[in-house]
Amino acid sequence: MTKKNDAAIVKQASNALAVRPESGEEFITPAADIYETPHAFVLHLDLPGAVRDGVQVNIEAERLSIRARVKAIHGEDVSILYHEIANKSYYRSFNLTKGIDTDRIEAAFQEGVLSVTIPKSEQFRRKEIKIQ
């Protein structure tokens, strides 16, 4: 398998504006890390303040999309003195190309970080052939 195939498997959606979940909805694009192992791609997304039940990972038409609802940071009856935390829903999507086993994608949410493991399909895994 060539190097070109590798890099093409997980690619960030180039036009995120076109896939806004609902028009008018405000959301934040969370920071992401992606690394590749011989068997899978692993995606990490920073989703501080997201609620576990509100994290959605969807695969549709070779696009992996992640939405997450956040819990309100402040209760009612407070005055905000200083404000940097957006406290809005998260959304981000990635294009998946061929060579992914979409049936076995797994996700976990811990310490405000979503981890998505995207296994390569059998034929795209790197194999080493031992010389006899």
Partner: protein, 139 residues
């Protein structure tokens, strides 16, 4: 009491780089810098200082108070790319950070507590008894 933090309120952020804020959430904002976002709110009996610290565990974070200055620092130690893997995208911050705040006099430093949940650190700064609002009944 502290109407505008931008006008040198006692809770003003001492860190000079604090101008680089995520000030416009309506735009697409990429989170993940070495300058974690902070909110400060006031309640009747306390202030809440909230810091976004995704991927951090309690033991990664240090909170210290000295001479009325509160410092929150830390590093995302339990995070990174396993050896032998190929990094395709790296946007999250894994560098050490520190944010420093001048506390108002009304804060009871002995009563400060903190909790960490889902990547959000919440530090509660109770007001000293004498500073709490009270009603004086007319006899």
């Amino acid at each position: 009491m502290f109407v505008h933090v931008s006008q040198m309120s006692p809770l003003f952020d001492l860190d000079r780089t604090s101008n680089e804020l995520f000030s416009d959430p309506s735009q697409q904002i990429l989170h993940g810098t070495d300058h974690p976002a902070v909110d400060i709110a006031e309640r009747e009996h306390a202030f809440d200082l909230v810091v976004e610290l995704p991927g951090m565990k309690r033991e990664d974070i240090k909170i210290s108070i000295e001479k009325g200055v509160l410092s929150v620092s830390g590093e995302r130690k339990h995070y990174g790319f396993p050896e032998g893997t190929k990094v395709l995208l790296h946007e999250t911050n894994t560098r050490p950070f520190e944010r420093v705040f001048q506390l108002p006099d009304v804060v009871d430093v002995n009563g400060i507590s903190a909790e960490m949940k889902d990547g959000i650190l919440r530090i509660q700064l109770p007001k000293a008894e004498r500073a709490r609002p009270r009603e004086i009944k007319v006899q």
